[in-house]
């Protein structure tokens, strides 16, 4: 029983770590948001200058590689907060 237990636990641990590596997203590149007609580069840091808000009509941010825009943060809408005096539309606290 103990041998079976430790075998299964070891497999679960290996599987969990392996799955985390397998689903690891590509290294962070420049991000873009979609205005509805064009892709614009994102300025500033997530959660400080901009946030992703759910639900939405299209994904929040994208990465760009080999001529293709891929979804970086999905199921969310890009919203700018507090850049250059832009009013904070959603009440995100800035620290």
């Amino acid at each position: 029983m103990k041998k079976i237990k430790w075998t299964i636990m070891s497999l679960v641990v290996l599987f969990s770590i392996g799955a985390a590596f397998a689903t690891r997203p590509p290294k962070l590149q420049a991000l873009y948001y979609f205005t509805g007609s064009a892709y614009m580069p994102v300025v500033g840091a997530m959660g400080q200058n901009w946030i992703c808000v759910s639900p939405t009509t299209f994904p929040c941010t994208y990465t760009y590689a080999n001529g293709v825009y891929s979804i970086y943060t999905n199921d969310a809408q890009y919203e700018v907060i507090g850049i250059d005096g832009t009013p904070n539309p959603v009440g995100k606290k800035r620290n």
């Binding site: 636990m9 641990v13 590596f21 840091a45 959660g47 639900p55 999905n74 959603v90 606290k93």
Partner: protein
Amino acid sequence: MLKRQVVLECIAALLILLFLYASVSKFLDFKRFIDEINNQPLPNSWTPFLVWCIPLLEIAISVAVVFEYTRLLAFYASLVMMMLFTIYAILILTHFFPYVPCSCGGVIRKLTWPQHLILNLFYLTLSILGIILQRTKHLKPISITKNSFV
């Protein structure tokens, strides 16, 4: 007795699967995790504490649940953690906060908030079941014999 042990091992394995996967995913893309915590409708001053506390606690639970000696403690820790996550998901879904943030974290980031809530409730139930089974594990069944009434 054997059945109970098998169920307990299965619960432990499922908790390891969730917590270890989630914590390793966070450390593998730590910058993104910081961004995602900043994106939550919580004060950004909490971020330095949360980005270390959450994954380290998840790893601690994954380790503690393996050993018989610390398993009950791990089930309790898992229960508290899942309760906090569940309350947070409910607050998000009831629009308690000024906005609904993206749901983030490894493959789990692909889940919507209602799906998150279901996953949390499932693991909350597993933790409760684990506590009940682990606590009653060493209790001897009460035998009612004729002598008991004498």
